[in-house]
């Protein structure tokens, strides 16, 4: 037995040592945290490519801003898990409006209203949740391969058989933003439900290729595998010089509102306020529009996309998850 016991002891000692190292590591971290309380701000964001704003903020204020990208699907579960354990590391949360509202219900979000929200439309102000942009969706096409005359002028033009096997879109059975967008068409664009159904069936008849989300949509358009897609105009900026352009339809563009807020128990509350104030400033929003191609709600700031300033961009109604599932199933049937 002795041999095994000795071995057991060795392993236990090893575990203990490792444990102390871990412990030391985390207490060290705690010291750093309390010592540099307001030198730092942590953000969880679902929006991508925001490094320019973070850098500009750090440069301007001397506060180090850190960002963890959380995709929409992980956002609620991650934040709620950390919040429930009292370990929410984020001072600032940025996500789609529906997500932020769920978190607000759960008490994760503080009531802080930034003075910078004054420059925004009224509907962008929601007790502590600041809406600053719209994740706008449009028809994006390959301008090298699609003749100007062929570019759709209305959404219904996608039903033209010439687009058969030439369309790419996110999966309408599961991709929340695409589902909301399609429902948004019904509520904001088409006059009758029949017209909307005709559009859906026409689109389905053209056998679009499905991908998991928006991000894989531009690649097949750029490479010419497909000619047109339901995608986001911001790619025209981020993927330049790719031959992408947006179809300037007569109808409005739509998208889910993007929101930012401070957490209720933010570890760095003051830095967090400073960050959100800066984020909502015209300076930061111009960066977002110009560098990332985002559509922002600050008046007079537009992304550098040809013709976008003339477009009407409207927020779509937030669907509840039950509605999303219901419509997802409905679309699955239509598109099968």
């Amino acid at each position: 037995m002795k041999r095994t016991q000795r071995f057991g002891v060795c392993v236990l000692v090893l575990l203990f040592v490792v444990g102390t190292v871990f412990g030391a590591g985390s207490s060290e971290k705690a010291v750093v945290d309390s010592g540099a309380m307001e030198d730092k701000v942590t953000m969880y964001a679902s929006i991508t490519a925001i490094e320019p704003i973070i850098e500009a903020f750090s440069e301007k204020t001397g506060i180090v801003a850190e960002n963890t990208r959380l995709s929409t699907s992980r956002f609620v579960s991650t934040v709620l898990t950390e919040f429930g354990a009292g370990k929410l590391m984020a001072d600032v949360l940025q996500g789609p409006l529906p997500v932020m509202e769920i978190l607000k219900e759960q008490g994760v979000i503080s009531d802080y209203v930034s003075p910078a929200i004054e420059n925004y439309p009224d509907w962008a102000k929601r007790d502590g949740i600041h809406l600053f942009g719209i994740e706008y969706v449009a028809l994006i096409y390959n301008k090298d391969l699609v003749a100007p005359a062929d570019v759709p002028k209305r959404y219904e033009d996608l039903c033209d058989p010439k687009w058969n096997n030439q369309i790419v879109m996110a999966n309408p059975a599961s991709h929340a933003t695409t589902i909301s967008w399609l429902v948004g068409l019904k509520e904001n664009v088409f006059e009758t439900e029949q017209q909307w159904y005709d559009f859906l069936h026409g689109l389905a008849a053209n056998n679009p290729m499905f991908v998991a989300s928006f991000s894989p949509t531009p690649a097949p358009i750029e490479s010419g595998e497909k000619l047109i897609g339901i995608s986001m105009p911001k790619y025209i900026v981020t993927k330049a010089p790719a031959p992408l352009a947006w179809a300037q339809v007569e109808q409005p563009l739509m998208g889910s509102p993007r929101a930012i807020a401070i957490t209720a128990d933010a570890p760095h509350p003051n830095a967090a306020k400073a960050f959100v104030d800066y984020w909502l400033s015209s300076e930061a929003m111009s960066l977002l529009a110009e560098e990332v191609g985002e559509y922002v709600l600050t008046s007079g700031v537009y992304p550098p996309i040809d013709g976008i300033e003339n477009a009407e961009v409207i927020p779509i109604r937030e669907l509840s998850d039950d509605e999303l599932v219901k419509w997802g199933a409905e679309f699955e049937k239509i598109f099968e």
Binding site: T81, G84, P218, E222
Partner: protein, 560 residues
């Protein structure tokens, strides 16, 4: 060795493993039975009812079985073929096999899938266009967005797992078994099928089962190639369950994952049952193992061409696609225009990005330290599994597969629910422990198949000579196991270097890793930067593999 001696060791290992792998699973089980979105809530069956009452589930299950069995068979057979050629025949350019076997381990699966889509998509896939021109076809002859396409790509991606398990076993095979078959009139082929393959059964089964488990949990291929072709399998079904709507319900995802878990664990018991008399397969004894090389004669050139072709598909093609993508400004089909637009912008951006560099550092740390700790733990576990063979050893083996067989998107959440209760949350150690716990089978499998082939007398005589268990391990077992250890280490290190599913859930500011950074690029559709970082990752993986082999060779017994 005496069984009683090992009881304590077995229980100790079960303790460690249970903590490592059971903790996240328990969290997921609780989650799957809890109401609401948090980990713990009121008890409910509702999540199970809702996911298992989906009428589409039958089709999904059918697709899953076809995909998983097809891909696992494909990789196992291909691995056998390559391992046989490498270890048993006089095929030229043997060094290429080592490279061949590991390179696909290092390529991010999403990227590999995307490059195949570029080659074989039915609209303008490069190979399809060629074939269309060549045979004057009106339609694309091949469609990658289909079950056969998925099997092809997943099979190629899992090839290294199968190869690294089968090859060491093939290498330490007692040749006299084959020789006696020939004496009794069996030709090369007959010997192969009647002797070599049956004797290698534990390794082959291990490879197959590991591939099945991996395919079940695989997400990249089903999402990149399956979804566009509207072929859904269980992992994409989970994705859909999680992603429809803004509030991802991981309890539901865990509920689906449970059935995958049950299948995987059953497979492991089947495997144990089928190889229960492992004594039969003890092949390395003290008589030494000199490989006997089979003359391929006329078959040499054709077989060589096949190998070159496979190498081309597995290594050259994806790396070329990556290199190409990292140089062109956006996704374009190769053309004169594309070549004229090439520049190093993506490389410059990536190399100047502090987070990319930090993630490289973190990933290297995780790869080296994680693989080393993981290999050490696997060594003891494999030892108990093979040499003790009691029921408790069976539990150990099943435990080691627990986290591994859970689909990645879900197990990450399980770890998060677990780590949040410890001080390790949001540290690099959480990633390290999660990696080791999840990918233990990568270490254990190659080592058990190597262990099976060490005659117990070799260790027993060490004990008689006064060596403690640890000395026996250090001086006898480990040196004999070097090929298995190198395989395990390489599998783990390259896996850890590109690990995504756990990292994406557990990494926080300061603990970014390569794959998460790559995902970030992919979510922005920045394929160029993604490819540049991908190549950097492959470069470092290759470095680790070369280092491991050099070290392995130094400790390897000199055979003459």
């Amino acid at each position: 060795m005496a069984k009683v001696r090992h009881t304590n060791l077995t229980y100790l290992l079960i303790g460690i493993l249970a903590l490592l792998t059971l903790a996240p699973i328990v969290m997921l089980v609780i989650g799957s039975f809890s109401e609401g979105l948090r980990n713990v809530g009121k008890f409910t069956f509702e999540k199970y009812i809702s996911v298992y009452s989906d009428p589409g589930l039958v089709d999904i299950l059918g697709n899953t079985v076809m995909f998983v069995v097809g891909a696992a068979l494909f990789s196992t057979i291909l691995a056998l073929f390559l391992a046989y050629l490498n270890n048993r025949t006089n095929i030229p350019w043997k060094f290429s096999f080592k490279v061949l076997s590991v390179v696909p381990m290092m390529i991010p699966h999403v990227l590999f899938s995307v490059s195949w889509a570029l080659l074989l998509n039915p609209s303008n896939g490069i190979l399809n266009l060629w074939l269309q021109q060549l045979f004057n076809l009106s339609n694309a002859p091949l469609n990658i967005y289909s079950i056969p396409g998925m099997i092809l790509v997943e099979g190629l991606l899992d090839l290294p797992i199968a190869y690294l398990i089968i090859s060491p076993a093939m290498a330490s095979f007692d040749v006299s078994l084959e020789e006696s078959s020939k004496v009794f009139g069996g030709g090369n082929l007959k010997t192969l099928f009647k002797i070599t393959l049956p004797v290698l059964r534990p390794a082959i089964l291990a490879a197959f089962i590991l591939c099945v488990v991996r395919c079940l949990a695989s997400f990249a291929v089903p999402s990149v190639l399956g979804m566009p072709g509207r072929v859904y399998v269980l992992s994409t079904y989970i994705y859909r369950t999680v992603n429809t709507g803004f509030i991802a319900d991981y309890g539901k995802a865990a509920a689906i994952g449970m059935s995958i878990l049950v299948v995987s664990i059953s497979l492991i018991y089947v495997y144990r049952y089928m190889t229960r008399s492992s004594e039969k397969y003890v092949t390395v004894s003290s008589r030494g193992f000199k490989p006997v090389v089979i003359e391929l004669k006329k078959a040499k050139i054709p077989l060589f061409i096949v190998v070159v072709l496979i190498s081309f598909i597995l290594i050259v093609l994806p790396v070329l696609v990556l290199l190409y993508t990292s140089l062109v400004p956006y996704s374009m089909v190769p053309s004169a225009k594309a070549f004229s637009m090439m520049d190093l912008n993506h490389w410059k951006t990536v190399l100047a990005d502090p987070i990319s560099l930090l993630s490289l550092k973190n990933s290297l740390f995780l790869g080296v330290v994680g693989a080393t700790l993981g290999t050490l733990l696997s060594l003891f576990i494999a030892y108990v599994i093979v040499k003790v063979k009691t029921r408790t050893a069976g539990i150990l083996e099943a435990l080691s597969f627990l986290s591994f067989s859970f689909p990645g998107i879900v197990i990450g959440i399980g770890f998060m629910w677990f780590f949040i209760k410890t001080p390790l949350y949001a540290t690099i150690w959480a990633l390290l422990i999660g990696y080791v716990a999840t990918y233990l089978p990568y270490g254990i499998r190659p080592m058990t198949s190597a262990f099976v082939q060490i005659h117990s007398h070799l260790e027993e005589s060490s004990a008689v000579c006064g060596a403690s268990l640890l000395t026996t391990m250090r001086r006898i077992v480990i040196p004999l196991l070097v090929p298995g250890i190198v395989s395990g280490w390489v599998l783990m290190a390259t896996m850890f270097l590109r690990e995504l599913s756990l990292s994406v859930v557990l990494s926080r500011p300061g603990t970014e890793v390569l794959a998460v950074q790559i995902l970030r690029f992919s979510e922005d559709g920045l394929w160029g930067r993604l490819s540049a970082l991908g190549i950097i990752m492959i470069f470092f993986s290759t470095l680790l593999v070369i280092l491991a082999n050099i070290l392995g060779n130094r400790f390897k017994p000199a055979h003459d």
